[in-house]
């Protein structure tokens, strides 16, 4: 029972790690970036290549799995994405899906279509017993990283001026500019961080979810579910939503395996019908 709870939490955290970058770009910047998964994939491949080709230790690859996609995000933002903020969401969908297709094919070309494996360090392998429940070390590690991320992001967004400036810039970029907010810098920085977080998520998730060129498409739905169910106005929303979805999914599959596949979708539909702005959206 408790093991299931733990597994659910861990799975939820994994979802969050993957989706929090999207919570930033879609949720806060209101940019429909379906290419989120491509940045996550980039992070995963950075880690895989560094570990498998150059023998870099796992932990050391993580900062790079953040930085490389963040830089890529920054470059793309400055050159391409920035032209699309003012466009319709449909344009954004088309554009970012185009990028996904390109990324999928390019990675396939460069790295091959097979699964990439990474070997996590031995001290993260295996399980220990805490309070009588078996917990996987790697999953605990993810939970810890995730906790840190949530606290840090929440702090930046609610306690600093950066957060309110960002939301102001999203609400009305034209007027925000006219009131002295440097919208371009804020967007670029946020986008880069969002991409970096995606990359980090990809690197952390590769061990459990696998990594191949179709990654961005395969997991797109999950990212979107988390962000939508959580509501797009905060970071805590998607965080709590990930927890809820993770636990419900794992518990559902454990107790009623025959309906396992329906749990997450039905939960999403029910939540969204009852609370169209997301479960944890700010009151409007």
């Amino acid at each position: 029972m408790l093991t299931i709870l733990f597994d659910g939490i861990a799975y939820g955290m994994l979802l969050f790690v993957l989706a929090c970058g999207l919570a930033v770009t879609l949720g806060l910047m209101n940019f429909v970036n379906l290419a989120h998964g491509a940045f996550a994939m980039a992070g995963g491949y950075v880690t895989a290549v560094l570990m498998n080709r150059y023998g870099v230790p796992f932990l050391l690859t993580l900062p790079l799995a953040f930085i490389v996609p963040a830089l890529a995000g920054l470059v793309l933002e400055r050159t391409l994405y920035k032209r699309l903020y003012t466009r319709s969401h449909l344009d954004q969908v088309l554009f970012s899906i185009g990028l996904v297709f390109m990324a999928v094919a390019a990675v396939d070309y460069a790295m091959g279509s097979q699964q990439q494996m990474i070997q996590i360090p031995t001290w993260l392998q295996g399980r220990v017993e805490i309070f009588g429940i078996q917990v996987g070390l790697y999953r605990s590690f993810i939970i810890a990283v995730c906790g840190v991320l949530v606290v840090a992001l929440q702090f930046i967004l609610t306690q600093t001026r950066f957060g309110s400036r960002l939301r102001a810039a999203v609400d009305d970029p034209r007027v925000a500019r006219g009131l002295g907010i440097n919208v371009s810098v804020i967007f670029a920085a946020t986008f880069a961080v969002g991409s970096g977080l995606a990359g980090l998520g990809g690197a952390l998730g590769a061990e459990i979810l696998g990594l191949d060129p179709t990654f961005p498409l395969k997991f797109m739905i999950y990212f979107l579910i988390v962000v939508t169910v959580g509501g797009t106005t905060s970071i805590t929303g998607p965080f709590l939503a990930s927890l809820l979805l993770g636990i419900a999914d794992v518990a559902g599959k454990y107790y009623v395996p025959s309906l396992g596949a329906f749990v997450i979708y039905t939960l999403m539909i029910v939540v969204l019908v009852l609370r169209p702005q997301g479960l944890f959206a700010r009151a409007r």
Binding site: G98, Y109, A261, P276
Partner: protein, 345 residues
Amino acid sequence: MQSNTADKVRSALSRRGRWSLGEIAFWLVAAGTLFFLPERHLILNEIAIIGLFALSLDLILGYAGIVSLGHAAFFGLGAYAAGILARNGVGDPLVGLGVAAIAAAILGFATSFLVLRGSDLTKLMVTLGVALVLGELANKMSWLTGGADGLQGISMGPILGLFEFDIFGTVAYTYSLVVTFVLFVLARRIVVSPYGLSLRSIHDNPLRARAVGIPVNRRLVTIYTLAAAYAGVAGALLAQTTQFVSLDVLAFHRSADVMLVLVIGGVGYLYSGLIGAVVFKVLQDVLSAWTPQYWQFWIGLILVLIVLAGRERLTDRIRALWPRSRRSLAADSPQPLQTTTAREV
């Protein structure tokens, strides 16, 4: 002065209903392909079907502003309805179309209540969820649907008891094209009517729409149901002309592709779906014949370029071929979709 203005008003309003040369040419060319491109009838058939499917999405997205990432639910249901019917001995294609339309319309009506509220993102995800659940159901109910192996043993009778489907796809294409055309004419009629205008107004500003007495929810439910029926017919066409149905009629990529097709074509003037289908399918066919492994890269690049080059400007230009859609009177370029519909008063 008075009558002068009245004339102008009248002509501005009824301009939208008239068929233009561009439109007539479009359909003549479409009909011409029956004779000029005999080897391409198979892919043309697919284009016609996808075009109809995208047309149905255009009815809700382009006119009523309901985004959907689960439109395949209706397509798939229509396909299965027609397929199961044909497998169980009712081989008449038109009966199949009718049943598929009704089945999809019922599902559309039932699920329309889920998409009345919430932001675009919410609608995307709810519709997606419906399609995914339906896909899982079809997988689970393999006694009826054949599950992952697909539905086999479909044998179609001749259309109207006269025309047998042939291996060249000519009858299939003719059939799909005619059905698409008939449904297009109907849709065209609908969107230039007062009812169609009210849909656009809801898209634009639901709060104000209510304040001029438009029963917003009821309008949305009807158009969603109608669009579902259209999608069901498209699905049925696919099932009947390929005589096979498998789970991927309900798959996510089906919904996503139709969305791409529609957006490429330009959303909101009915031809968008048809033109998008032609562009997308032809590109895909050419590119994947050229590089079966990496064609996606080039499709992706083209999508990116289309957007960067100003997709809306491109499609506006196509739109300009239709006089009724003069800039100001067009079902205009999509407004930036709002993430919140809660408009403050």
